[in-house]
Symmetry: none
Subunit: 425 residues, 2 copies
Amino acid sequence: MRCEVVAIGTELLLGQITDTNSSWIGEQLALAGIDSLFQTKVGDNLDRIVDTLELALSRSDAVICCGGLGPTQDDLTRTALAAVMGVPLVADEEMEEHIIGLFSGRGRSMPANNLRQAELPEGASFIEQMPGTAPGLICPLQRPGAGATTRDLVIYAVPGVPWEMKEMMLATVVPDLQLRAGITSVIRSRTLRTWGESESGLAELLAGRIDHLDGTGNPTLAFLASGIEGLKVRITAKADTDVAAEALLAAEEAEVRGLLGPLVFGVDDDTMESVVLDLLRADGRTLAVAESLTGGMIGSRLCDVPGASDVFRGAVVSYASEVKFDVLGVDPGPVVTTDAAVAMAEGVRRMLGADIGIAATGVAGPDEQEGRPVGTVCLAVISSTGEDAEPVVESLEIHLPGGRRQIREFTVITLLGLLRRHLLS
Amino acid sequence: MRCEVVAIGTELLLGQITDTNSSWIGEQLALAGIDSLFQTKVGDNLDRIVDTLELALSRSDAVICCGGLGPTQDDLTRTALAAVMGVPLVADEEMEEHIIGLFSGRGRSMPANNLRQAELPEGASFIEQMPGTAPGLICPLQRPGAGATTRDLVIYAVPGVPWEMKEMMLATVVPDLQLRAGITSVIRSRTLRTWGESESGLAELLAGRIDHLDGTGNPTLAFLASGIEGLKVRITAKADTDVAAEALLAAEEAEVRGLLGPLVFGVDDDTMESVVLDLLRADGRTLAVAESLTGGMIGSRLCDVPGASDVFRGAVVSYASEVKFDVLGVDPGPVVTTDAAVAMAEGVRRMLGADIGIAATGVAGPDEQEGRPVGTVCLAVISSTGEDAEPVVESLEIHLPGGRRQIREFTVITLLGLLRRHLLS
């Protein structure tokens, strides 16, 4: 089974936005055991979209086209699909009502052209999931094959909005492709999330294991540096059944964990945030955050996790030094010090009534501060162990590479990583 | 002049790395006045690379292929180019010596296969710039044209390493393409950033103008929805000189602003954050933020802008209701109300000693809260006008679509948009 990806949108060709959808789709197809040999970007031009789809159909069994499903005149995917199928576009009344309902449910009036999204090529069907206002399409069609045979082909159309596209891909498109391909062998992968070693450091720790796996070719290991997400080690295994593939993954995970130890903080969709929130929840402890250079990013990342409210009391962003002194009770003086970080952590812990306080202060740039170079960051964790006992304090000064954004992001994961180790010890 | 982009590498199809090179090249071509109608990703497979190049040559005048110039057996671009040109690969002695020199100059021994990089198709030449160890190529070739004519075509090959590619593109490829195209005209673009209308709403407001421009084809307008970045309206103009293109842009910007009014909050690299920080700085006023569902995202976005510290005092993230009551002085009771938002804004303004306080409280989901549905958000802006005067208060309840992340992101830009209107009035 070969499946091409066609990303539609002049803005993609002009570089106004980068086509990350095709990459993500390519990855999902690879994991599902489906070959994707060509991926094409084409602009909002009917003839060229049709030509591109025809070419894809001539050399592949399926096509996923992404984008061009919006309500405006630029959105030509529906029209192109009807042309390729050789059928008219028809309006679907049920979908019209659904779209009207989406708008009225939000108390907004619906621009008339939104009803264009309820049209589909005759013989096509809507993808069941519809997380946004753009319906996805499944378009079966045929082309002549060798001799007197015909080739049964399919085009899927998904929106260009990534989260809408992803939901449709995972719930409908990939399973449908696998069914059509009669794929029985399965490929599964598992990603171990690490923090605390560089990519080359991880590669050295795992070099012997990778050499060993190169001999068998299954499972495989790959690295991926993901900034604020940490460094990922991906295990991929192929087997006849789900159970056998999962067993291979589990065995390999145990090997890798044996080599990496506490560097591994999570698996797959775990994030450093979700991991520390889970640890805190299990302990029945609450958290308060004092931020400076990160400006609220630590709190924001924690709140990305549904259910954070069980644990996360809140944060004080003391961006101005006077806020550190007046609100958090830091002693006047230099604020890029571990002492200041500890005072911030203790100040916010008391103020917000939390069991644990964490803090980050430092120099994100572009200019140095208090004579400390850009990238200097001081971190602290303070946890109370009861009314009268002395709190447990940990602090750390680090020196981070990169620009303003990277320094702030690495500060977030490093501070949360410090909290994780604190909670585990 | 039409120029396609072909990105070569199996890792691109598998989604192991995202092809950002094609986007960047597309943008440079657009700015240079060269059309790029198709961009294709193809894997490390000789036949498919050759097919892709032949197709590109059949419908365009030039091709830029990116990647596959390394020293390994997977690097097939040189071989594919020789096949397309119908000539053998020949070794270039001067380049061999250069590459040997590169390695010895760094005190490293050269793997023998690095000399493959000194080969080029007969009749091709090297791109003068060579920032890394991979030489780029210029490959002139011909194909039959209409009647007895021939078409003079060219393929450029540049490395996949972004900074190597960019240096070759800017110094050699783009100027060479413009020379071949006899381009004296320039294309310039400008992006108006808007917030407050949906994409289809903007399309309706601008429908008459777009119809008018469709008649002339220059300048053109395009929309782009960018989530937390707002909705963008891009104006693109073509003219004989920079000055004339800029004049077209300025005239069209005035037309569009006349139709959209205060919906336009900025131009090009402006963000809602940078715009409100600039307005506050111009007024000499400081800002404090009280956040709930956004968890720190508002502060974090403001601090993304270098120089935010002139204006931004800090934030209190009152995620737990008790923090709203105890720290910010909100009256105990429901917290998803405009009254609570106003109390939060006033509380944080006083606490952090700022001139203006803004606040957001609401329901990001997944569960409803206080009987209010997911997406209900209350916003407030409060600004003092002096010691004894009554502060000016604005508040707003909105209902946002989408999931947790989208609700939080739209909250950020909507609150900052409210602050912008407040500062302008």
